[in-house]
């Protein structure tokens, strides 16, 4: 049975990321306005929340939405990201601080995702001369996704720049058109920006993964990681429903996964799974299509597969069928997307 969290489950410690958001809002004098900013967030005031109080992902998302709306400034998501990692989230933050290189830092981030970045799930793939860190929505908040992606990419960028002691040559791919506030991306992320990418991803040459970080201590980081479960209990790291489903689909993508089979593995009835997905604004086919699109893009980009090979990999009868489905998932034909990917210069 696979355990998971939903957007209504209260598990995000209010003193972690929500306290940072409160702090930033206070520094921008939002607390002088009124309590409207706190509406629907489960927080009762501007003071430091109680040590044992928790928020649901829906409440944390509401807090972010309220603060962003009240500040009405394009830099809010980026400024929040600057402070987010390594953060003060107990043993996990301690482990990040001690990370000996980028690879270990990203491993810690993935393993501690439920606490370090509960709203978006980072996934690292390394193949074909590039390392890709891509992000997916954990609790179904499509309208806030652009701000969340900006925030999380800034968080990883800023953390690596600080701990690594230099600016890393990331390439940023955004699953949306170029925004009006591109200057914020240039300053807080970097100048190698791509838009309309069908994936929110940060790309880097894998050589950077193992370059030692000046204050890293791999041993100390591992020790800190081991104490994470003791500190908060193993269930503290349980993934969200959408994350667990994505992982399951990714692992079984070549086996033709079905709603019924997955429900059985998750230990719930298909009707319950459907209902839970609907609560996150999604449904089974949408999640399956997303994973298949991501796999196809990765095969094009990292392994240089052609249509036939990808169609065969994903279990399509023929390339024509695959081309039609791919167009439905992404709005682009595979060849257009592949040409776009190939025209991009090599990573440094």
């Amino acid at each position: 049975m696979i355990g998971y969290r939903q957007s209504g489950d209260s598990f995000i410690p209010a003193r972690h990321q929500p306290a940072l958001v409160l702090d930033y809002a206070r520094s921008r004098e939002l607390d002088e306005q009124d309590e409207l900013v706190l509406r629907g967030t489960g927080l009762s005031g501007w003071q430091m929340p109680a040590a044992d109080s928790t928020l649901t992902p829906a409440q944390y998302l509401q807090l972010l939405a309220n603060v962003t709306r009240a500040l009405d400034s394009p830099d809010t998501s980026f400024m929040l990201g600057q402070q987010m990692l390594p953060g003060h989230y107990g043993a996990l933050s301690h482990a990040l601080l001690q990370a000996q290189n980028l690879r270990q830092a990203l491993q810690i981030l993935s393993a501690g995702q439920a606490r370090l970045c509960p709203l978006l799930t980072p996934r690292l793939r390394e193949e074909g001369g590039m390392a890709v860190l891509y992000w997916s929505d954990s609790f179904g908040a499509p309208s806030q996704l652009p701000a969340l992606v900006e925030m999380h990419m800034t968080a990883v960028t800023a953390m690596c720049r600080w701990l690594g002691g230099e600016r890393l040559p990331w390439r940023y791919c955004m699953n949306r058109g170029a925004p009006a506030h591109i200057e914020q991306h240039q300053v807080h992320l970097g100048s190698d920006l791509r838009f309309n990418c069908h994936l929110d991803a940060m790309l880097i040459n894998p050589a950077w993964l193992d370059r030692p970080w000046p204050r890293g201590n791999g041993m100390a980081a591992s020790v800190a990681m081991h104490s994470v479960a003791d500190e908060a209990g193993a269930e503290a790291l349980e993934p969200s429903l959408l994350t667990a489903l994505y992982d399951y689909l990714l692992a079984h993508i070549r086996l033709g996964p079905t709603l019924e089979g997955i429900a059985a593995d998750f230990g719930i009835s298909p009707a319950t799974l459907k209902r839970h997905l609907a609560r996150h604004g999604s449904h089974f086919q949408a999640e399956l299509d997303q994973v298949r699109a991501h796999v196809a893009i990765q095969l094009f980009q990292m392994r240089g597969y052609d249509n036939e090979a990808v169609a065969q990999y994903l279990g399509f009868h023929d390339a024509t069928n695959f081309r039609r489905s791919f167009k439905r998932w992404t709005g682009l034909t595979p060849s257009l997307l592949r040409d776009g990917l190939l025209s991009i210069p090599q990573l440094i």
Binding site: Q82, Q186, V187, G190
Partner: protein, 301 residues
Amino acid sequence: MLQLHRSTLIASGLALLACVLLYSTLGVAKAFHMWKWTDIVSEGGTAVMAGSWVLFTLSSRPGGLVTRLLAGGLALIMIGSFADCMDEFFAISKTARWDHWLEAMVPVGMLVVTIGMYYWRHEQFRLNEHLQKRERLFRDHRAFDRITQLANADYLRRQIRHEQARRPGQQCALVLLDIDGFHVINREFGQSEGDRVLQAVGHMLLLNLRNDDLLCRYAGDRFALLLPDTSVAEADALASHLSAMVGQMRHHAKSGRVHITLRHASSSADAAPEVLLTELSRVISQPAQPAADPRIAAATA
């Protein structure tokens, strides 16, 4: 802002109350059928409107002569038209003169507001002079950054386009300035100290600019300069001078002195603003030579 003017607000409130008392004790209430609704609405409406102008003025301006004149004049208009309106509810004997004096407050108030407007114009000229390097030719209050009070990137792009359209072919330079290791300042001293550094650097840069130059906060710790009638070489020299001035600056945080250094990139402003700024951003964010970045070296030591 309204707290500043509490006594003015209380005085106006008391004056209105006195008006009501005066009319209700010295006058005779008119029967309901004698009320003239058009007069009540027009005179009462004027009083309400003038009252809201008093509030707008007081809530948006610091104290001082101009504020006193504008708010005082508007308050006189409000009280005068309020008295006029009370006339409709209470009959005053024909021999009494005081109600005429009360109503005469409307033209007196208009005179006071007019004098206030005259001084406001003067004040505005002074402020324009002060804001010139920040805004150049246009005012758009939404385009200003809250921390540094400088215009934002959007405004900069519009100004570049404006400059190109106004004087095509004239040389004009664009410079980006970045604070070295700003993220380390934020991490070590906190974000509020980072904000203070941005303000200090903004002030320092403004002090060293010509009146025609425009300084913007591009984003984060990156400032932008638009320099009309300037060649790239001159712009480079100016940027080096500015960097030296900022380098000389003594900025004190709670826990000691923060050393601030700048790096810069400049080009001629002769292409689309988006293209120019993207290219300059790429140049300025090239990894700096480790030796030129003492903050990072200090942080890792």
